[in-house]
């Protein structure tokens, strides 16, 4: 498939419940490509990754690169959570469910960066970016650059 072995994926994400249905998602993260499952028969996207399309039950689901555009559907700011490099819970760790441009109701959960607390709100347009924790890429979203129509 590509140069990153299963063993390398497991090693990069200790403690994450990686299985046969989601390992391509994590392999993609190591290449800074955010992959979400899409049905090759009917085109429906789904998240989290499973073996069948929930709309048509096809097993032809393909981890597919997303555009990285979306809006914040939900968010919280955590002041308590699992210790992780670069996260200061005193200051607050923002986590959002981003509604992806690909499909209504399709959401990916990630942290928000480069965003003032007062800017963070439901409905904020955001775009995908990448940060690192202990050398491993982590998908994140930041406020979208204004675009020409």
């Amino acid at each position: 498939m590509n140069g990153i072995t299963d063993a390398a994926v497991f090693e990069s994400f200790p403690g994450v419940a990686i299985d046969h249905d989601n390992i391509e998602h994590y392999r993609g993260i190591l290449q800074r490509r955010l992959l979400v499952n899409r049905c090759a028969d009917c085109g429906t996207w789904h998240e989290p990754a499973r073996s069948r399309c929930p709309a048509c039950w096809s097993t032809r689901v393909e981890p597919t690169k997303i555009s990285g555009r979306g809006v914040i559907a939900l968010f919280t700011v955590l002041h308590h959570g699992p210790p992780a490099t670069g996260i200061d819970y005193q200051e607050g760790h923002p986590v959002a469910a981003v509604e992806l441009a690909e499909q209504p109701g399709l959401r990916f959960t990630a942290t928000i960066v480069d965003c003032k607390r007062e800017t963070l709100r439901i409905g904020l347009p955001v775009e995908l970016t990448w940060i690192e924790r202990v050398g491993v890429p982590v998908p994140a979203f930041r406020p979208a650059e204004p675009r020409n129509a």
Binding site: L78, H80, P82, G105
Partner: protein, 387 residues
């Protein structure tokens, strides 16, 4: 539509320990205390029990061995909240799998719940428990799940955090009167609003309180229960609810939850209507869940709970009293009595219907609505009544 199981199975015995932050006792020992209490309360002995229903915190085979219950023809270690144990025991009895179930729930502040808990060698050796934090900090799974929905609720309906504070204050005001409760200091709105945010917009006061303790119930046929010492508490109607987006991040909106599904089914099967309810037990694992149970059950419209609480607030006792009559979570709920994942709600509901709730008794309570569980995958609704 009336189901054949309606009023055919009853709660006939109750047993509980006190609830505290540190009982200094093993989970199994507390479960056995509650179980012995429930069996004796029902006037039964070990050989009368032929069904056991608990969870993997303290599995059924532990209880059966420890209490020398000779033979069981049905047993189950189920997930929480505790409506599963009540409902599956009811189903097993009605189906004829067994006649009398000892259903129980033990809680133990596991090492995964806090730094203080992990410093206790007994808790460390017990293991991380079900509350261990999810490994990634960037998720809505686990304990984070309801916090973004609390934010969404406040934004969608344009109300302040006070709506959540009123849930916390109601529960605490009730817990002050409950000797079993872990938290009995009165709580003010000032205390609530000045509390540290843990998962915005929620504070520690918006969350259930990990404790040590146990509850146990004897569940049997209504026919058999009528021959036992206490007034039978009949399971009148029961339902569960879940939809096809059972994940916090994927749920479509606050009004697209399992709660709607459970309550619609309950109202299809219950002859007891909302206006007949004398005491209400909405789940309070997180305050937003309680707020939405009021709205979903039909006490008020979506987004109207804050105004409803104000209109039905009893100032002298600093708590909710619907129409001056219907008290809510009279034991203090999971927030203030302690987090029992619904077993405390059922135990207090049964005590109220037996007329044995002491200083907390709702006069002449005949019908209790218990609505355990949250938004995503564990909502339920149970109507209990007496004859």
């Amino acid at each position: 539509m009336t189901l054949p199981i309606k009023d055919r199975v009853a709660i006939a015995g109750l047993g509980s320990t006190p609830f505290s932050r540190d009982a200094g006792r093993a989970a199994g020992a507390m479960v056995l205390d509650a179980c012995v209490g429930a069996v004796r309360d029902a006037g039964l002995t070990a050989s009368d029990i032929d069904g056991l229903c608990g969870s993997n915190v303290v599995p059924a085979r532990y209880v059966q061995g420890a209490l020398g219950i000779p033979e069981c023809t049905w047993h189950a270690n189920l997930t929480i909240p505790f409506q599963h144990q009540i409902i599956e025991s009811m189903n097993a009895i009605h189906a004829g799998m067994c006649s009398t179930v000892l259903a129980y729930h033990g809680v133990y502040r596991a090492s995964g719940t806090s730094r203080a808990a992990s410093a206790d060698p007994f808790r460390a050796r017990y293991g991380a428990g079900p509350n261990v934090l999810f490994q990634t900090p960037d998720t809505f799974e686990g304990a984070v799940g309801h916090s973004p929905w609390a934010r969404r609720y406040l934004d969608k309906y344009g109300v302040g955090r006070e709506v959540f504070g009123k849930v916390a204050i109601n529960n605490r005001s009730n817990a002050v009167l409950n000797e079993r409760a872990a938290m009995r200091q009165p709580l003010t709105m000032e205390d609530y609003l000045s509390a540290r945010l843990v998962r915005e917009p929620l504070t520690l006061y918006d969350m259930d309180l990990p404790v040590d303790g146990a509850d146990a119930f004897i569940i049997t046929s209504a026919e058999r229960a009528r021959d036992l010492p206490h007034r039978p508490v009949l399971i009148h109607a029961a339902a569960l609810g879940q939809n096809d987006r059972p994940f916090s991040a994927q749920m479509l909106d606050v009004d697209c939850t399992g709660q709607q599904i459970a309550i619609r089914q309950l109202w299809r099967h219950s002859d007891v209507r909302l206006g007949d309810v004398d005491v209400f037990f909405p789940y309070d694992g997180f305050s937003i869940i309680t707020v939405r149970w009021f709205e979903t059950a039909g006490y008020c419209d979506d987004g109207e709970a804050n105004a409803f609480f104000d209109a039905h607030w009893e100032t002298s006792t600093d708590r909710i009293l619907i129409d001056g009559r219907v008290a809510v979570n009279t034991h203090g709920g999971s927030m203030s009595e302690g987090a029992t994942q619904g077993s405390g709600h059922f135990r207090e509901a049964a005590a109220q219907l037996r007329g044995e709730a002491g200083v907390r008794q709702v006069p002449n309570a005949k019908h209790a609505l218990v609505t355990p569980g949250g938004f995503f995958f564990n909502a339920g609704a149970v109507m209990l009544r007496t004859e």
